[in-house]
């Protein structure tokens, strides 16, 4: 036997560590998405009894129920249904709402922008505020200085991080919407209507992330290379922005990515507090009215968004860190 035969077959992508990492992460994403899609498909079949009958109510005529069952392909074999479902996903056909008889894709495309806007603005606000707040807190309280500031920061951020978005939303509505009347209590209109929903969605995350940023900054400040930078007598601006910030960014972005995924869940609640015309209000409604195709499609969409965000965050982090040894194993 020659030595060559014993060698494991080289995959084309394994020759470069970064492409190998990319391919591996993409494969993991594909598997997760496949699991999610199958679960979403299975959802309708896990419902005890006849979902169409449940949705239309006991008084609906049998003919209508049969018609809807046929429309939903529920009278075919499970395998046929699955293939049909996958085909629909690929072609953008997400089925038809049982209660309104509108194409689900129309409902989603009408509401998706509102949700994306809310989550996107909230994410920007979170990243733009939490990093400077956390860094300033770290610099002020480094080496056990300013015990009072330390305690105040920990308490306030701890409180804000604990209170869930929808309660924060209710508090904001009562204070700024009802009592002070500065901002509208709900609905989507001009820029002022964004203030309270964005605040409700972002305050807790800002607090949580600012805590992490502070802890990370304190950690970096204790590193030996910061002492080297100190020995160069650089101005504070360079010391913190050039020598400290890049080194705490990895941990911050890791958590920031997780928060972004968490915002998807948060929007569902916050939209319901502020009657925001997005996916969150409609998904809750459709669960209540047993409009399964709509609920199914939105859960699938939001879930897929979360999975994709997580994968992108992993990839960005892998490529960002100059030391990363991805694919080395």
């Amino acid at each position: 036997m020659t030595a060559v035969a014993v060698l494991p077959r080289e995959r084309w992508w394994a020759t470069h560590p970064r492409s190998a990492f990319l391919v591996r992460r993409a494969m993991r994403l594909a598997v997760s998405l496949a699991v999610l899609i199958t679960l979403a498909f299975a959802m309708i079949h896990l419902i005890p009894g006849d979902p169409v009958r449940t949705a239309l109510g006991p008084k609906a005529p049998q003919s209508l129920v049969a018609q809807r069952r046929h429309d939903l392909w529920l009278d075919r074999s499970l395998w046929d249904q699955y293939v049909h479902y996958l085909h629909g996903l690929v072609t953008g056909d997400l089925g038809t709402s049982i209660s309104s008889n509108l194409p689900v894709s129309d409902i989603i495309s009408a509401r998706l922008p509102s949700t994306a806007e809310l989550a996107g603005i909230a994410f920007l606000v979170i990243m733009l505020l939490s990093v400077p707040i956390g860094m300033v807190a770290a610099v002020l309280t480094r080496d056990g200085r300013r015990r009072g500031t330390d305690l105040g920061f920990t308490t306030v951020t701890g409180l804000l991080a604990t209170v869930p978005e929808f309660l924060l939303g209710v508090g904001l509505v009562v204070l700024f919407g009802v009592t002070l009347r500065w901002f509208p209590v709900g609905g989507k209109g001009g820029p002022e209507s964004y203030v309270l929903p964005v605040a409700a969605l972002s305050l807790g995350s800002i607090a949580a992330l600012a805590r992490i940023v502070r802890a990370e900054t304190l950690n970096v400040l204790g590193q030996e290379y910061v002492r080297t930078a100190l020995s160069k007598e650089l101005p504070a601006r360079l010391l913190y922005l050039r020598h400290v910030l890049p080194n705490m960014l990895t941990a911050t972005l890791t958590l920031g990515g997780l928060l972004l995924a968490g915002l998807i869940g948060g929007t569902v609640l916050v939209e319901n507090v502020f009657a925001w015309p997005g996916l969150g209000t409609i998904v809750v409604n459709s669960v209540g009215t047993q409009d399964y195709p709509v609920a199914q499609a939105i859960v699938l969409m939001l879930g897929a968004t979360v999975l994709v965000i997580n994968a992108v965050v992993d990839l960005v982090l892998g490529f960002l860190d100059p030391r990363s040894t991805i694919g080395a194993s």
């Binding site: 508090g171 009562v174 609640l269 669960v287 879930g303």
Partner: protein
């Protein structure tokens, strides 16, 4: 303080105590509120529908005229109870799932792990909506949903805890004894993680309560006529304009309960990871003035003048002083070595001189001058510029002292850009020439690289080149070769000497290696237990050191002539800890010549011969028996 009972310790902290009181109150309400206020909560009063807050109804009334406050109190049982149920569901699913990989084979365990990974990353609310769709809307399916959503976390917790004791001795012993895996898990692993597991799961009730309120608030949880806080919040929000109290009340209840669970968790976490206690009052790493003191001896205009320098570190057990009133000078172009065992205070001395002490350590000195500038003063822009350009610092481990996320070029050029106002291009040219002067090949390419792309020796060269970006008058080198290979060590020392010859920069070389001192320095300070015990020139060091400690250090250097069959010479005993330095000579306990006087009275540092002072009551005068190769320069 953390001890065996973290819960008891946590309850003694202010946060923990407050949280415990609130939780006890909630438990009381859950137990007795339905009996006390149940009738009032059910009492329908059509004359007072949907009222705002008043004396009789502090939180107003609902759409059937029932008192909101009474309902709020009664709902405690429902809210807490559902949360507890949800955690039980999470436990029943999660704990076996988390323990499974330990029982299953490797491959099956991996699959379970992947499933947990997938589920943990998935938002709980979407999972809950999924369950609500399948199982229908209602309290039961909400509990199920939150339980299932919480299961991955419970599984991960079990896994982490199990892994933490899987490596412990008794589990290893049981495994060696051939205990089957399942029994190992049931008999040895689970019982030992039971307590932290139960504690963590109890704290999870807080999270479940918040989640349950969220679902009820969305209308996916508790359904009328039953009610919990979330349901009440939902109803209250509909008429938030009329009576905000109806929404604020239940919201506040949820927040208080959530905070109480969280507070207890935080108190526990704090107790488990007791942080080191810093000194109470704020300390500056600067140099508080001690008192005026005699000028230290020195040549013409020394680069560095140090007089009665002490370094103090406040600790929980009181302040320790690892460096005690040492005085020395470094003249222009001179290489001075500070040598001593670890813990002798030599590195702290170097950091104090460099104004680089890490808080809470701080220094005091009668005089501390660099090129005539007082280093104890608050740093002005001028002083910082002087230090940035005229003083260079080389640290021990170049793997950690260069910034990993900045290129080598960036780290070099910034010195010139900031302190010499050099334009970027010019600074880069200077950096290239500096890298070349420390003999780094193809410096243009190295400038663009990150520290991890350089070898250890190359990094230390780059570090020295960084110091040469200005016009250094003093290079402080703190164990510059200790982290490097032996062959590289020699190159770095040669480089330091060459820089000293070429630029006339003085150097303060801190090392534990007396051989390094002997071949590099002109003058040597020997430190022991925070004090200088002998100061001498390098020739005297090799020929007739006076202090028994110095002689012992030299005797412990092996060389080519050392009889390799005889044991390596060492100094018996250990140096005293900074907290327990004796009144007399610090070395007395380990010294063969020590007398009663040595133990009672500290010997001052006194001149013995030209270029030699020692702090010893019984200085040795005979020459060293044999000159060792390693020590003769």
């Amino acid at each position: 303080m953390p001890g065996r009972r973290p819960l008891a310790a946590a309850l003694r902290t202010p946060t923990g105590a407050t949280a415990a009181v609130v939780l006890a109150g909630l438990l009381f309400l859950a137990a007795f509120a339905p009996a006390i206020w149940g009738a009032e909560a059910r009492h329908v009063d059509v004359a007072h529908l949907l009222e705002g807050s008043s004396g009789r109804h502090p939180l107003g009334t609902d759409n059937l005229g029932r008192d909101v406050l009474a309902r709020l109190l009664v709902a405690t049982r429902q809210s807490l109870g559902l949360a507890v149920l949800a955690v039980l569901v999470a436990t029943l699913i999660g704990v076996p799932l988390g323990a499974l990989p330990a029982v299953l084979g490797r491959r099956a365990g991996r699959i379970v792990n992947a499933v947990i990974d997938f589920a943990v990353a998935f938002p709980a609310l979407l999972l809950a909506i999924f369950v609500a769709i399948v199982a229908g809307v209602g309290a039961q399916s909400a509990v199920l949903a939150i339980g299932i959503a919480g299961a991955p976390s419970a599984a991960r917790l079990t896994q982490t805890l199990a892994a933490s004791i899987a490596g412990s001795d008794y589990v290893a012993a049981a495994r060696l004894a051939g205990v089957p895996r399942r029994r190992l898990l049931l008999r040895h692993v689970l019982p030992n993680i039971g307590e932290p597991l139960i504690l963590n799961l109890t704290l999870a009730v807080g999270g479940a309560l918040l989640a349950m309120s969220g679902l009820s608030f969305l209308g996916l949880g508790v359904q009328a006529p039953a009610y919990d806080w979330g349901r009440m919040l939902n109803e209250g929000l509909e008429r938030v304009y009329v009576s905000p109290a109806a929404a604020l009340g239940p919201g506040t209840a949820v927040v208080i309960a959530g905070l109480a669970f969280n507070g207890l968790g935080e108190a526990l976490a704090q107790v488990v990871s007791t942080r080191p206690v810093h000194g109470g009052r704020r300390r500056d790493a600067g140099h508080p003035v001690d008192e005026p003191a005699p000028v230290a001896v020195g040549d013409e205009a020394p680069v560095l003048t140090v007089s009665r320098l002490s370094v103090h570190i406040p600790t929980a057990a009181g302040e320790i002083t690892p460096v005690r009133e040492i005085s020395f000078t470094v003249s222009r172009g001179e290489i001075v070595g500070i040598v001593g065992e670890s813990g002798s205070g030599k590195s702290l001395t170097a950091m104090a001189v460099g104004r680089l002490l890490a808080a809470p350590a701080y220094a005091t000195a009668a005089r501390l001058e660099f090129l005539g500038a007082d280093l104890r003063a608050k740093p002005t822009r001028t002083l910082r510029r002087l230090l940035g350009t005229s003083r260079a610092v080389v640290f021990q481990d170049p793997a950690t002292t260069l910034n990993p996320s900045l290129t080598v070029g960036r780290q070099l050029t910034e010195v010139s850009e900031v302190h010499q106002r050099m334009p970027r291009r010019e600074a880069r040219l200077r950096a290239v020439s500096r890298l070349r002067s420390v003999r780094i090949p193809s410096p243009e390419r190295r400038l663009r690289q990150y520290p991890h792309q350089l070898s250890g020796g190359m990094r230390q060269r780059a570090m020295i080149a960084m110091g040469l970006m200005g016009e250094p008058q003093l290079i402080i080198a703190d164990e510059p070769t200790s982290a490097l290979d032996v062959t590289v060590q020699q190159q770095i020392l040669r480089l330091l000497r060459q820089v000293n010859e070429d630029t006339g920069a003085a150097a303060l070389l801190i090392t534990h290696d007396i051989a390094v001192v002997a071949e590099t320095c002109r003058r040597v300070l020997v430190m022991y237990a925070g004090r200088i015990v002998e100061e001498l020139d390098v020739r005297t060091l090799c020929e007739r050191p006076a202090h028994p400690y110095t002689r012992a250090l030299i005797a412990s250097v092996p060389d080519m002539a050392t009889d390799r069959d005889s044991p390596l010479a060492t100094i018996a005993g250990r140096p005293p800890q900074p907290a327990e330095i004796p009144d007399g000579c610090g070395f007395a306990a380990r010294c063969a010549f020590a007398t009663e006087r040595c133990r009672a009275e500290r010997p001052p540092l006194l001149p013995l011969a030209p270029g030699q002072s020692a702090a010893c009551w019984h200085p040795r005068t005979e020459p060293l028996p044999a000159l060792t190769d390693a020590v003769s320069a």
